[in-house]
């Protein structure tokens, strides 16, 4: 493959194609629209289907419907559209239908600033839909990683039968970098294999590993799917002896495979007493600040999270044992910092948050280190 100049949103589109996504439904919204544009052009070439729906609610519904029909599917949006999708994201979590939702975050609340960057949807990605449910969210820091994490999003979504949020941001989405994409033929994504016969198949069986294989509609496995609490057959139930095992299985299925889901990068120095912890575009700020600090002879640990949800509790807790301070730069008023505080205590965390559309600067991180 040759080196190409592309933006993060292009890389997300190519990642989807490479991962075997063959259905995209979306609604135009800045700063995510390039994802739709590239897929409207590329999907038919590989036999896939693209549709521009009447709104984001319909887009989310359509991608779930398409996956029920057997096609790997994705949508892309930004803040206001992401808010509209929440009910059906919960439906995908409840019914365990895999799908990938790209949120190229922009400044909010409300219409906010469509072309300004933000990381303001961190908590919404986890808790935006009502009720307790598992959730995976990944956050890329570069153009190449936008490709890789899109592929990973499909893999995890299929493997764990859960919606996966690709929590990108305007900076990485619109940033152009030279990248060399891998040969798509080498890319492997989890595929469901149903070995049971239709007579014994249960779409929501409480298996020990927590993820029963998913049969597509129209393949001879006729069954019921509902957003109501349901039994192993998929039929609505109000029976606690059926609801409780479901709750246990679905709300622990990610925990059971946490090491497979958690992606992060540790760049630690022996004896460092300060750590920078960040993600997405702000991770680039943190890395820059780390380089300056180390050039000045100061010891700094750097922890970059690629998996935001489930939150990498174990690793952040361990970092809290190593250092006195953890500085968390992010383009919001301290959303991921809440989670860091939960693991290491409020007194160890310094928030460096901006929610005005500007990127946190390395100097702001360095200043926090001195204060």
């Amino acid at each position: 493959m040759t080196v190409k100049l592309m933006q993060g949103n292009d890389a997300i589109g190519w990642g989807a194609i490479a991962a075997g996504c063959r259905f995209y439904a979306g609604y135009p919204i800045t700063p995510s629209t390039e994802v739709a544009e590239i897929l409207s052009r590329e999907l038919p070439k590989v036999g896939g289907k693209f549709i521009q729906m009447e709104d984001e609610i319909a887009s989310m519904a359509a991608i779930i419907g398409a996956r029920v029909g057997g096609l790997k599917s994705m949508t892309a949006t930004s803040g206001p559209g992401f808010s509209l999708m929440q009910e059906n994201i919960g439906y995908a979590a409840m019914t365990e239908i895999p799908c990938v939702v790209v949120n190229v975050q922009r400044l909010g609340p409300s219409t906010g600033q469509p072309t300004a960057a933000s990381q303001g949807d961190v908590m919404q990605a986890r808790w935006g839909s009502h009720g307790d449910h598992p959730m995976i969210a990944l956050s890329p820091t570069s153009v190449r990683q936008s490709f890789d994490l899109t592929v990973k999003a499909f893999d995890l979504s299929e493997k764990y039968r859960t919606p996966v949020i690709l929590l990108a941001d305007e900076i990485v989405g619109h940033m152009r970098e030279p990248v060399e994409l891998p040969d798509f033929k080498t890319i492997k994504v989890f595929e469901h294999k149903v070995t049971e016969t239709p007579a014994t198949y249960k779409g929501f069986r409480n298996t020990p590993e927590g993820v029963p294989p998913l049969a597509a509609f129209g393949t001879g496995y006729r069954y019921h799917i509902t957003g109501l609490f349901h039994n192993e057959d998929g039929f609505p139930t109000q029976n606690l002896s059926e609801i409780d095992p479901w709750l246990e299985r679905v709300n622990t299925k990610l925990e059971k495979h946490i090491d497979d889901i958690t992606m992060l990068e540790e760049d630690f120095q022996d004896g460092a007493k300060v750590a920078f912890l960040s993600y997405g575009a702000s991770a680039r700020t943190a890395r820059h600040a780390m380089k300056i600090a180390r050039a000045q002879g100061k010891k700094v640990d750097l922890l970059t999270l690629y998996t935001i949800w489930p939150f990498p509790e174990k690793q952040v807790e361990a970092l809290g044992e190593l250092v006195d301070w953890i500085i968390v730069p992010e383009m919001n008023l301290g959303q991921l910092a809440y989670e860091v505080e939960r693991m290491v205590g409020r007194k160890k965390v310094r928030r460096v948050g901006l929610a005005n559309g500007e990127m946190v600067t390395p100097q702001m991180v360095l200043d926090a280190m001195e204060s």
Binding site: A58, G65, A66, V68
Partner: protein, 305 residues
């Protein structure tokens, strides 16, 4: 079935689709449905939705469709519970979104007969946007709208089809909003098959549903029903049987209406039953399949250049 009921009104169609005796035992499809049934249903005794479910079963049976090739997609509400009792590929989704889910499913699997089952609130209030856009695209989906003119499951709030002046729990002084004419809306939005009947005219529903499912395009069947538990009680319309009888008295077949004088037609206040449109337009999934072929030919040529 009560023979006097059948003879008591003018059917839009002369021929009934189903054998009128022992139809249940004679149908392999119905035997299969019987095996997985989840009865009793959640519907109140006397509800019209069960009649619609029967009509749907008979229509599918008449067409001889393979259960594996039929997908029922529903939203939320009394009507939307119907798929849960039937042995097909069944998807019970979120309120108002049945057609949006059905859109994804139909595009992913154009070979499936996708039937979206909705109530009036589900299809036209929260789902109104999806309804008109699915019709505009002319997706090969059948939209079955059971119109009981009320939100029944939540206890009787006024809906987009509640008649003017109708009492509902949220219109205690009479409904001030004019109702949507479902069939007119569907035609204006681009549906290629649109028909209306009532739960009193069950055999007519069978026929319209069979035609709608067989149609290669977006088709709408409005099944006029009633809710005796909420709307009937609040408006003192009597029992389920009284409301069923009212559907007999207060509807008129399109063919019968057309035999009247222009003055009589203009003065008609009865609900008109019949097939209002049956036309051909390019169906979305076929158009998109053609697009894929076209695009792949071009990109193949470019690769060879």
């Amino acid at each position: 079935m009560d023979k006097t009921l059948l003879e008591a009104h003018t059917l839009e169609s002369e021929e009934a689709l189903i054998p009128q005796e022992n139809w249940f035992e004679r149908s392999e499809t119905l035997q299969k449905l019987n095996k997985k049934k989840k009865f009793p249903t959640i519907w109140c005794s006397g509800c019209g939705i069960g009649v619609v479910m029967g009509a749907l079963i008979r229509a599918i049976d008449h067409l001889g469709l393979d259960n594996d090739k039929v997908a029922l997609v529903a939203g939320i509400g009394c009507t939307a519970r119907m798929p849960g009792y039937l042995d097909f590929n069944t998807l019970h989704t979120t309120h108002g979104r049945a057609l949006a889910f059905a859109t994804g499913l139909k595009i992913a699997r154009p070979d499936l007969e996708v039937i979206a089952i909705m109530g009036d609130g589900d299809a036209l209030a929260i789902g109104g946007n999806h309804f008109i856009h699915a019709a505009r695209r002319n997706l090969g989906i059948t939209a079955l709208v059971v119109n009981n003119a009320i939100y029944g499951m939540t206890g009787g709030q006024y809906s987009p089809t509640t008649p003017l002046g109708g009492i509902a729990t949220t219109s205690p002084y009479g409904n001030v909003e004019p109702p949507f004419p479902i069939c007119d809306l569907a035609i204006a939005a681009g549906a290629t098959y649109v028909a209306r009947s009532s739960v009193y005219h069950a055999l007519e529903l069978d026929k319209f549903l069979a035609e709608a499912i067989a149609k290669n395009g977006f088709s709408v069947v409005e099944a006029v029903s009633y809710c005796h538990t909420t709307f009937g009680r609040l408006n003192k319309l009597g029992t389920a049987a009284d409301m069923m009888r009212a559907l007999k008295d207060n509807t008129i077949a399109k063919s019968a209406l057309e035999r009247l004088t222009p003055e009589e037609q203009a003065a008609n206040t009865k609900i008109v039953r019949g097939k209002f449109i049956d036309i051909e337009r390019p169906q979305y999934t076929q158009v998109y399949s053609d697009l894929i072929v076209r695009v792949q030919e071009v990109s193949h040529e470019q690769e060879n250049d």
